[in-house]
């Protein structure tokens, strides 16, 4: 009996549909709370090739919602570990793992190799980047985002339909992560599973694809509603004309007279302006510590305050810095305005 017998029995799938699934290529950007359940169902359904992209490593605090990962995976790269687990689930699926972030340099090249893109990211910059690259490569993408107990879901750039910029034209720097707000594991589970369902409908060319609509789900209130969205042709034209530009979201820091050390990776946003802001990622500190002033107070920050604390430990214990102050709560607490 075929592995896919139970879904082939559906008239919406059938042998032809299964053939379409086996020939389809899906890229999952962000293998986290949304990407894990989505990947498991797409692999189960027998999608031909799955790309798994994530530059992050598994943390113990991920396990309550990122259901692909186990305790023994903590500290290992998510894209690689996900690939290993999913290969055991279905050896007929081909996998490619990317242990790097999606950037304006690699987006078009990677996205053009897939048929549908599933957005499992946790920041606006990458969502706009996926949107613009998909628009230029003419690929549909399935969007989802969560905030505490609520979720948003839509399929963008599907069959000449609206894009993410048609709903939210303006970039915002209000990245608020699950780390900061808290989330119950089931919510990204629900949204990620709905994303997988949309991907399957897009591949099978069947049913009502959630294009031109934004679905809003409130898990605590057990309520949902669907908002109709229209195209904003001027937003689409602008991207077609200008292409992808690196999304640098500027910000000013309070107390511009102070020295700051940003220990985040170079792609992390927002990017503070100012001559007294040094950018040295945590992993480069041991090779670049000489650039840091040691005779006046320097405020060290990252996204949440965790990496900067580690950075100070390293700089203090290994290189004798005693002038560093941690910005508790991360960059959001020192942005001006």
């Amino acid at each position: 009996m075929s592995r896919y017998d139970r879904q082939i029995k559906l008239k919406e799938v059938g042998p032809e549909g299964q053939e379409k699934l086996c020939n389809a290529k899906v890229l999952i950007v962000g293998v986290g709370g949304l990407g894990c359940p989505a990947a498991m169902y797409l692999v189960g359904a027998g999608v031909g090739k799955i790309g798994l992209m994530d530059h992050d490593k598994v943390d113990i605090s991920n396990l309550h919602r990122q259901v692909l990962f186990q305790e023994s995976d903590v500290g290992k790269p998510k894209a690689l570990v996900a690939k290993e687990h999913l290969e055991k689930q279905n050896s007929e699926v081909q996998f490619e793992s990317y242990e790097e972030p999606l950037t304006s340099d690699n987006a078009q090249k990677i996205i053009s190799q897939y048929d549908v893109i599933l957005d499992g990211t946790d920041n606006f910059e990458t969502k706009y980047l996926i949107n613009d690259a998909c628009l230029l490569a003419d690929k549909p993408w399935v969007f989802a985002s969560i905030y505490k107990n609520e979720g948003q879901l839509s399929v963008f750039n599907y069959s000449d339909g609206p894009t993410y910029r048609c709903v939210f034209p303006k970039s915002t720097r209000q990245n608020i992560s699950c780390e900061a707000t808290g989330v119950l594991g089931v919510l990204p589970g629900i949204l990620g599973t709905l994303q997988a369902a949309e991907v399957l409908k897009v591949i099978l060319e069947t049913g009502e694809v959630l294009s031109g609509k934004l679905k809003l789900i409130n898990m605590m209130q057990a309520s949902e509603q669907t908002i109709k969205i229209n195209k904003r042709p001027e937003e689409i034209e602008k991207i077609r004309k200008e292409g992808i530009s690196p999304v640098y979201i500027d910000c000013d820091l309070k107390y511009a007279e102070h020295w700051y050390l940003d220990v985040r990776e170079v792609f992390e946003q927002p990017k503070p302006k100012g001559k007294k802001v040094l950018s040295i990622p945590l992993n480069d500190l041991t090779s670049r510590y000489q650039e840091i002033p040691n005779n006046q107070e320097v405020f060290v920050f990252c996204q949440s305050g965790k990496r900067s604390k580690n950075a100070i430990e390293i700089l203090k214990n290994e290189f004798g810095f005693h002038n560093l102050k941690n910005v508790e709560g991360g960059i959001e607490t020192i942005i001006d305005g």
Binding site: F168, Q174, S177, T181, L214, L216
Partner: protein
């Protein structure tokens, strides 16, 4: 006229409610009502909040009695 305003995400949080019925006087567009509802709320990026009237994304429409207005901030979590 009476309109129902629904709040989502961090807007609901800042307003400390998910829904309210408002009594409005005179002619107002959806974006006028948004400005009125968000006034005084601590939301850093009010421009990014979108407005739907009767489940249609639209900020320019003139409101009428019985309308349902939704204030939708973008979410980024995953």
């Amino acid at each position: 006229m009476k309109v129902t305003v629904k709040y989502f995400g961090l807007v609901a949080e800042a307003a400390d409610k998910s829904e309210e019925v408002m009594e409005l006087k005179g002619q107002l567009t959806a974006s006028d009502l948004k400005a009125q509802c968000l006034n005084g709320l601590s939301i850093a990026d009010k421009d990014s909040v979108q407005i739907a009237v009767n489940q249609n994304l639209d900020d320019k429409i003139n409101l009428k009695d019985g309308d349902e207005v939704a204030l939708l901030p973008p979410f980024a979590g995953g």
